[in-house]
């Protein structure tokens, strides 16, 4: 956490940071790339690529097996990477499970609970069992990755999925949450920051409500871990998931956080090599967490690169990144609010939001907006952003999203707004 004396991350410092990201030198149709799609995937700094390459060129070996020098050293840096990532999110290293991505992390929790519900995991896993009469609570603003696994878990176990709605202001209804969360609730799945609305959810309130009735909380931290200080231990969530590639790290690696007591009581999802103690032809016994959830060959170089990404973010300071992105978000939303025929989804101008904004252009489909911006090198996301129910809630099938990161300049936001101001006239939607 930063102190109040930390200097603002200003445009001058951002200009220096940008030199670490070679892709920012690229052009599209002769225009410099204006990358406003970091919410989908972040650009990667040289340090992260170098860390992965250095490992692969000099230290590469299988981890947690073998007795040769490189096997031992690779295992050590692999486990150091886990410690680095754990420290970054206020966790212990045995609370960090490597997964392929955040989606796999969330599915791991859902399928492990399924397995517990089938009686796997013995008496200590009984606390996870769910079935008919039990309820899972999710929200209307979830990314599909934090919705469909719970739909499927409900379908497999006979439990019921209940949904906390989103208001016109892009906020969850806490009254509805309080009404929905009760003794029948076994699990509450919620995103920390909406990938569409930019809403920052009151996780503490939801955790309190859930824990009062003994329900578990699963947090989607994909849009918070890269952009703001995150202390999962202090938030007291039971599980959390985030992905490497949205926080300057590689694709192919994600993280599941689980409170250690819970992880050690939860039966495994994927089974096979590396996660066992004793195997007979009839059955197997499993290692403690996190290894029991890491079957098969691990994402070693990716984990090491992700740890380097974390060090990069720590050097800049996540509190400074958060502060910077709030300024960019305000510039973005104020600018969008000033353009006729454009509606911002989620919190309005002047309200706190993460550094992204999704918007709908009256009379112009999001795909066409994206194409129009791309012509001059401005990269935004278009479509439903893996949140179809949320778009349906706002009466649209698609929106365009501009999302910022620590390398985004105020000038880039202005270039985007200036170009966007002509979109309705280009498509004849202002006639």
């Amino acid at each position: 956490m930063q102190t109040s004396t930390a200097p603002l991350l200003d445009d001058a410092e951002v200009q220096l940071l940008r030199q670490d990201f070679p892709q920012l030198q690229e052009t599209v149709n002769g225009h410099p790339l204006v990358y406003l799609d970091s919410g989908a995937t972040a650009l990667r700094p040289l340090a992260v690529l170098d860390a992965e390459r250095d490992f692969l060129l000099h230290l590469n070996a299988a981890v947690h097996r073998g007795a040769h020098t490189f096997a031992a050293e690779a295992t050590e840096v692999f486990e150091q990477a886990r410690q680095t990532v754990a420290g970054f999110v206020g966790a212990r290293s045995d609370e960090i499970v490597w997964t392929a991505n955040a989606t796999e992390a969330l599915n791991l929790v859902a399928y492990s609970i399924s397995n517990a519900s089938l009686g796997r995991g013995g008496p200590e896993a009984a606390r996870f069992r769910i079935g008919p009469g039990d309820e899972i609570v999710a929200t209307e603003m979830e990314h599909h990755a934090n919705l469909i696994p719970w739909q499927e878990l409900a379908a497999r176990t006979g439990a019921t999925l209940r949904i906390i709605g989103v208001g016109d202001d892009g906020r969850l209804s806490l009254e509805q949450a309080a009404a929905l969360i009760g003794p029948q609730t076994k699990l509450v799945a919620v995103t920390h920051v909406s990938n569409v609305l930019g809403t920052i959810n009151p996780v503490e309130d939801l955790v309190r409500m859930a824990h009062e009735v003994g329900a578990l909380v699963v947090l989607d931290a994909c849009q918070s871990a890269p952009h703001r200080p995150l202390d999962l231990g202090r938030l007291r969530v039971d599980f959390a998931a985030f992905s490497g590639h949205k926080m300057l790290g590689p694709t192919g690696i994600g993280v599941l956080y689980g409170h250690s007591e819970l992880l050690n009581a939860l039966p495994p999802f994927l089974t096979g090599g590396s996660m066992i103690t004793t195997v007979t032809l009839e059955k197997a016994e499993y290692l403690p967490a996190p290894q029991r959830f890491e079957a098969g060959t691990q994402k070693v170089s990716q984990a090491i690169a992700l740890a380097e990404a974390v060090r990069y973010l720590e050097r800049v300071g996540t509190a400074r990144i958060e502060e910077r992105e709030q300024l960019l978000a305000a510039r973005l939303v104020d600018g969008l609010a000033g353009l006729p025929g454009i509606r911002v989804l989620g919190p309005g101008a002047g309200e706190v939001r993460a550094g992204l904004a999704s918007f709908v252009v009256d009379g112009v489909h999001a795909h066409d907006v994206g194409q129009y911006l791309d012509e001059v090198g401005i990269a935004v996301r278009v479509g439903h952003h893996c949140a179809q129910p949320l778009h349906r809630r706002y009466g649209v099938t698609a929106s365009s999203r501009a999302s910022t990161y620590l390398y985004t300049t105020e000038h880039e936001v202005d270039v985007f707004l200036d170009r966007l101001s002509g979109v309705r006239s280009f498509f004849g939607a202002d006639r």
């Binding site: 194409q371 439903h384 498509f427």
Partner: protein, 144 residues
């Protein structure tokens, strides 16, 4: 003309604003298609005349200017031709759309839709242009 202006020529924007064949009429076969990457969808119906030719192609749906104008142009093209002939035109359209701008497209077969040669250069937009045509192709297989 910039590349963007080639993609969104006036004829495209005109069809997108005034969609021909829009609003489902009676039909002998129907197909519903979704583009899962953007959520765009189209429902399309083919109605046969007494001569066995296509009397009407009607559709409903929502999507980008490319998908909407492409459906509109298809609706203009289909009435009065035989189902086999429509299949040939769908084949010709697909060939052009897969050509990354290399195949010009025969205006006698494709009408206004030859304009989508420019869209074929944008691989992300090929599916948008194809949406209604894929629906028509499926509806053809469902004709009595």
């Amino acid at each position: 003309m910039s590349e963007l202006e080639q993609l969104y020529q006036e004829v495209v924007l005109d069809h997108a604003r005034n969609r021909r064949g829009f609003g489902l009429g009676p039909g002998d076969a129907e197909s519903h298609q979704i583009n899962p990457t953007c959520g765009d969808e189209v429902t399309l119906r083919l109605a046969l005349g007494e001569d066995g030719g296509i009397r009407d192609l009607t559709w409903e749906g929502h999507g980008c200017a490319i998908s909407q104008s492409s459906a509109s142009m298809l609706a203009e093209l289909a009435p009065g031709i035989l189902p086999d002939e429509l299949q040939l035109r769908i084949d010709a359209f697909r060939e052009m759309m897969r050509s990354r701008g290399q195949v010009e497209g025969d205006e006698d077969l494709l009408g206004d839709a030859v304009v989508f040669r420019s869209a074929s250069r944008y691989t992300a937009r090929v599916k948008c242009a194809m949406l209604a045509w894929v629906a028509a192709e499926e509806a053809l297989t469902r004709l009595p």
